[in-house]
């Protein structure tokens, strides 16, 4: 196949999955899917290898989808499927490590011959159980577990599954609606795929898949081979639930193969922050891709040269029936672990660790005056880590791409008053390039009764470390107006007059702060990102805040003293 033909076919295949994802995203009922693109879509060949993937979604969905199809085909081998069949599962160990994430796979037939699978994974609004939380002690408490099953058989819905679903979820109509959207999305992709095969006179995508996967694998292997062979390690500690969790990372580069081993990481815990290996692999390969191959397409070939291992029973390879509903609370730190280890091999390509774990706040209670019950959940972001030549982004999610909720929307939907939402001065780790700032959010509840407060927060005890001489970002803090005690993972009733302040962590700095251009420090101080005190204490830069100038000689002397 010549390169131009391959490029055209390849582009068209990617266009096909993008259309599949667009159809699904536009018709989804769940705001989390629509606003955050909390879904993924891909085309797989008959052997279950991912060939192309839509450019939307979160790494957790995208990369666990890639490995999930193999598991689905183990249960239903390709030759057992007929036109009109649709497969479903939410098995966390086989797909996205959380019961809310439902995968739908549709075999696509061309005149009764299986040619490919259109597959997508999408976050369901509800799946029963305790609702999305980390409180469960086993997966049994987390909701309805759907093994790999046929949702449609020869074009007919398997009503029993729909009835089970309806009876087990809190919002049956939305969940059904989203599953319907998932099926429609696959159909749109399938229709496009068949038109594409027809146009180019292809019988199936197998030989195209071989080319795409082969070339991608070669591209990936070339990148790995360009790295120095060796072992690179880092040990990251995060807050965890009741006790700190250690993520012990070892990257082994051996010619054109890369292994990430999490041996020595903490064991699984009783609460639902355990991670299935699929998800560990998803966020690990994502971190690797950000560093060495952001431009290489995501398909079977990009995963082949990479092996991810974690001891069975560890928090990163939890065994059934561990609770896994809050797996992102640990999984989101894996790209930082990868960056930390890579910092020795590729010092200039990595990003310093950031706040990493989204701050998840849930408040429920009774509205003052009306007596109405309310319940509201939202996610917020701290600061991202700094890079070789760029400050970290403030209040920006990484690695998850989830968008925040406007204060006006929060206040319209719930009797809450956001009294403040501002960037947190000095929270970014000092460095030649500074970590991104966290944000401060002050929340008041308009109620006359004690209210339920659930928080899943991170980096309260363990900050985001800096890299290459950069300093750590500030840890997060929780404050209340009446000395009510808060922990980083909390579910409690707070007195009605409690005003809660969330101070979110900042990202780590990159390079020594002594090397930071004093003009940047001046700009930071002028804009209040850094206080004058921190400018002198952390950066050795003396600022005249009357005239907004750098005191050159005082700075020179201070920096000299500090580096002595």
């Amino acid at each position: 196949m010549d390169q131009i033909t391959l490029d055209i076919l390849w582009n068209r295949l990617i266009a096909t999955v993008n259309e599949q994802a667009a159809a699904l995203m536009r018709s989804s009922f769940t705001s989390i899917v629509r606003e955050a693109g909390d879904l993924s879509a891909g085309v797989f060949d008959c052997r279950g290898r991912m060939v192309a993937q839509a450019v939307t979604g979160t790494p957790g969905h995208i990369n666990s989808l890639a490995t999930g199809m193999i598991h689905i085909l183990e249960r239903f081998p390709a030759d057992s499927l007929v036109p009109g069949d649709v497969l479903i599962t939410n098995d966390p160990w086989k797909t996205a490590s959380q019961l809310n994430d439902i995968t739908i796979a549709t075999p696509i037939f061309s005149s009764h011959k299986l040619v490919a699978f259109c597959v997508n994974c999408c976050h369901a609004l509800d799946i029963g159980g305790r609702g999305l939380s980390a409180d469960s002690r086993s997966v049994y408490e987390e909701g309805l577990f759907i093994p790999v099953m046929k949702l449609y058989e020869v074009g007919k819905p398997v009503e029993a599954i729909f009835e089970f679903l309806s009876a087990n979820v809190r919002t049956p109509e939305e969940v059904h609606g989203d599953i319907h959207s998932q099926i429609v999305g696959n159909n749109v992709g399938g229709k496009q795929l068949l038109a594409f095969l027809n146009e180019f006179g292809l019988a199936d995508i197998e030989s195209l898949a071989d080319e795409i996967i082969g070339r991608t694998e070669k591209g990936m292997r070339d990148r790995i081979r360009a790295l120095s062979d060796g072992e690179y390690r880092i040990k990251l500690t995060i807050d965890g639930f009741d006790a700190p969790v250690v993520i012990n990372t070892r990257i082994i580069i051996d010619d054109d193969e890369l292994t990430v081993d999490f041996e020595g990481s903490s064991g699984a815990v009783p609460q639902g922050i355990n991670v299935c290996l699929n998800y560990t692999r998803a966020y690990t390969t994502y971190g690797i891709k950000c560093v060495i191959s952001p431009d290489i397409p995501n398909n079977e070939g990009s995963f082949k040269p990479i092996t991810v291992t974690a001891p069975p029973g560890s928090i990163l390879n939890a065994r059934h029936p561990s609770a896994v509903g809050g797996r992102h609370l640990v999984g989101h730190f894996l790209p930082s672990a990868v960056m930390g280890a890579f910092a020795q091999a590729l010092p200039e390509r990595v990003m310093a660790p950031g706040f990493d774990g989204l701050w998840d706040t849930h408040i429920a209670g009774v509205e003052r005056g009306t007596g109405k019950h309310f319940s509201f959940t939202w996610f917020s972001a701290g600061g991202a880590g700094a890079l070789k030549d760029q400050d970290g982004l403030s209040a920006t999610a990484y690695p998850s791409g989830i968008a925040g909720v406007p204060a006006e929307v929060i206040e319209t939907l719930a009797p809450l008053v956001i009294r403040r939402r501002e960037l947190r001065a000095d929270s970014g780790g000092p460095g030649t390039f500074r970590g991104g700032l966290g944000q401060t959010m002050e929340i008041e509840v308009l109620t006359d009764e004690p209210y339920l407060f659930n928080g899943l927060y991170e980096r309260i005890n363990f900050p985001a470390p800096g890299l290459h001489g950069g300093k750590q970002g500030q840890t997060g803090r929780l404050l209340t107006s009446n000395r009510a005690e808060l922990k980083s993972k909390i579910s409690c009733r707070l007195p009605e007059d409690t005003v809660v302040t969330l101070e979110m962590p900042g990202g780590g700095g990159f390079g020594s702060p002594m090397q930071r251009d004093p003009m940047r420090v001046l700009n930071d101080v002028r804009n209040g990102y850094v206080t004058p005190t921190s400018a002198s204490k952390d950066y050795g830069v003396v600022i005249d805040t009357e005239r907004w100038e750098i005191d050159g000689s005082a700075t020179k002397e201070l920096r000299h003293q500090m580096t002595e």
Binding site: D2, Q3, I4, I8, W10, N11, A15, N18, E19, A22, A23, R26, S27, F29, T30, S31, R34, E35, T58, P59, L125, T171, E173, G177, H180, V184, N198, E199, R215, T216, G219, D222, K289, C290, V291, D295, I296, A381, L387, Q390, L393, S394, A395, T396, A397, Y398, G401, A403, G404, P406, A407, E408, V409, E411, V417, R421, E422, L423, Q439, N527
Partner: protein, 697 residues
Amino acid sequence: MNLRIGADIGGTFTDLILIDDSGKTFQVGKVLTTPDQPDDAVLVGIGQVLAEAGVDPGSISHVVHGTTLLTNALIERKGARTALITTAGFRDAIEIAREHRYDMYDLYLRRPEPLAPRFLRFEIDERLLADGTVRKPLNDGDVRSIITSLKHEEVEAVAVSLIHAYVNDTHERRVAEILSRELPGVAVTISSDLVPEIREYERTSTTLVNVYVKNIAQKYLRRLQHRLREEAGIAGTLFVMQSNGGVCEIDTAVQYPVRVVESGPAAGALAAAHYGGLLGYKNLLSFDMGGTTAKACLIADGEPAVTGEFEVDRQYQFKKGSGLAVKVPVIEMIEIGTGGGSIARVDAMQRLHVGPDSAGARPGPASYGLGGSEPTVTDADLVLGYLDPAFFLGGSMTLNMNDACRAIQHNIGERLNLTLMEAAWGVHQLANESMASAARIHAIERGKDVGKFPIFAFGGAGPVHAYGIAGILGSPRIIYPLGAGVMSAIGFMTAPLSLDFSRTFPGTLNNLDWQGVNNVLNDMEVEGKKALSRIIPAEQVSFQRYADMRYRKQGHEIRVPVPGGILSDSRRGELKTSFMQVYASIYGHTMAETPIDIVSWRVVAQGPKPRVTLPRAKADSSREAESARKGMRQIYLPKQRNTVEAPVYDRYALVLGTVFQGPAIIEERESTVVVNGPGDIRVDEYRNLIVDLLQQG
């Protein structure tokens, strides 16, 4: 006789058109844009078209104008020194934005700098609650102390955006009052006046964009108005094209310059819709490809769709989420980084990519001979024989074939082990693929099957690529209007007077405060009628009502037509049906039980649509296509995988009724129609070229 002029300032050229209602006068003109003083080119161009048509300036009833001046000021950050006043605790809403990354894998992504730096963002200790009640009253003294700082900082423009001001504007109005009294000459925009809609980041961002370019808009438009009257002798009214597909008076454009930022592309889509109406196509894909980008817009049921939001100053070429959010009505289209100047490259994995980076006008494509060495789409089109090196822009510029061949051969052919022609074809076809794919996604997002839509192709490079794109999309027909380069100016002529109003007044369909809804709608209509009746008789003003509705828990609203008259509980069914229809047309299904929420209400006040009559050609059956043939040229035909001799026609010599077959090349001054395969080609009475594609695949 009602004579009107359209003047569209683009990056390179300023296009002009002079028409009357009868279709007798139809004069187009093109002059080089004068970036330092854009009105110079407008004056020169107007002088030219008037002279050529032999029309007296005194008889011009009005001039419609559009410009990229404000967009450029935003991208180049050449607007006012701007400050922002917010509610205490919220000066960072503009910087925190949506807290998300717009690209998953690029660690180095950047976000646009807010138009007001943090040290120029001031907070006032006032607070409204979500229902508009005052929790903490505004203290005038606080405003005055901010004014001291604003003076000290020599601020030229101030945006005011207070929390929940979209439900209660009293605090913002008070702040504006004090500001305008104590800071005369400083531009002020308050969010509740410009965009009274929920979501503080989007509202604040829009307010900042508006005030940032307010001084520039005012100075420029007033000067143009003055010079038209004094120097050109045109007493007619000056209107400005808006992004929503309507025109407004100068006063409105000066007050709300953000509404005119995307006027050029909007007008192109309007022109497409107009031609569609003329030729009997209710559905069309408008396809406009220029030097750096391509824009596609679906015209369904005769109208381009209007959406509520766009972005300026995108940091990542064309990537959604990477720019400053602007919440004003705009004709919905998709823009991608594929144009004549887009650079083709081979990546580390030996894959060929086209765009999104562009060689621009300088150094431009390799064949421009201005120092560009990287191959571009234009270079590929030249190598393939689609363009005539001696007849680029009607011969006003020559292209260097050798440089084009060298760039393609060296950068692509050698690296991929392809012949020169194969490499050039790869560039051409990959450009087509990405444009077709973007158009198809755009259609899917609107629930339409683009394969059934004829393509309306214009812009300098549109006619070169439309045939290939039609093949990919399976389109039945392509329409190539005459004057592909002045479509925006023609679009100006078809735009009605139009003003948009919106109010956030949330509620649930099953339990609406109908009295409140009627008040909100009525207020907007009264305001619209008052504004428009200054220009046209009040009885000519018509209204369209819309509501932004969604199923509960969905993140985005859809715009739903709302019936006129007094609304009440008995008419709830009409609203519900309207919502269901729009929803089903986009998403293909509806939900029976899920509650429906309404977030905002909108009114579009419009004047009558101006009549535009295009000149019609007379049939001349004695003229065969043969007589319009300029010669023969070797062009690359993909089916044959080889170059073949094909006829080249002079577009201006083709007359109504001429019928011929592809492959063929048809040249006009501003573009070249490339039919590099089979197709039935004919000329219609407006001298449009119509190409019917034969059975594909």
